[in-house]
Symmetry: C2
Subunit: 142 residues, 2 copies
DNA sequence: GTACCTGCAAAAGATTTGCATCTTT
DNA sequence: AAAGATGCAAATCTTTTGCAGGTAC
């Protein structure tokens, strides 16, 4: 859980006014490490901040995405999910639930980066490569 | 553009009744190589088949996805797109347009597969890895 | 003939928008 | 004071659903 000062700084550094609503949304994104939907975020925030409006949360999230402060995660259920952590990582999608976990692996990133340094895609500048790793949890065998 | 016989076969082999609507949707997916939305597909089909219902197209697409005859492609615009080609490939997302192109690369697939053969993810069985390659078209320099 | 499909229209669910009011700077 | 943000409710957009009637096998 990030403290208020960090959050205020982050907002100010991105040229955004520091409002309680924005602080609450950012805080929720740091606290909820489940890649929440907008709805999850609203529910979480309303515990301490009952009057926040749905539209405000959506607008806030969109603003943060535009500033690259957070990331959208697309899913096959027509619901957007959000990720408050923007350091380079990939996502593991569990085929049998809507759980999405982070996957950090710099060796893999380097491998892929090197690969594409040699083998270019014609007329194309790669900005980012994200892996969607899909699979299943293996239950413990004892 | 696939011929009718192939399409009929594909439907029958998946235990589906061969209806003009299903043939039209599959045909659209083979013809439109732009990873169309449901709406794109409806528009395309209505040229020759004006009475097809919106709900039918959605149901048909969902049926095809369940049978793994086609794939969903998720986007950041809250619109699902569909891909009629299910052989292993990745997608190139153009950051400055909603263009999505296919990327076939077996060398890369092997590289990644080998990587994960050695470095397992604990308690997890990988079923598929999809790359979202994001970037921009480089204009020709003359 | 039966099981399965389709069309239609209504419903649902997620997200966006317009605008008056309020807050931050 | 000015610029920008919020709340509210209505609107929009995509996708799903229920069901009566129709079609493939």
């Amino acid at each position: 859980m990030a403290n208020d000062i960090e959050i205020r700084d982050k907002l100010m550094h991105n040229g955004l006014k520091v409002t309680p609503q924005r602080v609450a949304v950012l805080e929720a994104l740091f606290d909820l490490r489940t890649h929440p939907t907008a709805d999850n975020i609203i529910e979480y925030i309303r515990q301490n901040h009952p009057n926040i409006a749905v539209g405000t949360v959506y607008k806030t999230l969109e603003t943060f995405v535009e500033k690259s402060m957070i990331q959208k995660i697309v899913t096959e259920n027509n619901v957007m999910r959000y990720d408050g952590y923007t350091d380079k990582h990939h996502h593991i999608y569990f085929a049998d639930s809507d759980n999405i976990e982070d996957y950090y692996d710099d060796d893999l990133n380097n491998l892929i980066e090197q690969y594409f340094n040699e083998k270019k895609i014609p007329n194309f500048k790669i900005e980012d490569i994200k892996l969607q790793i899909v699979g299943r949890h293996i239950p413990n065998s004892h």
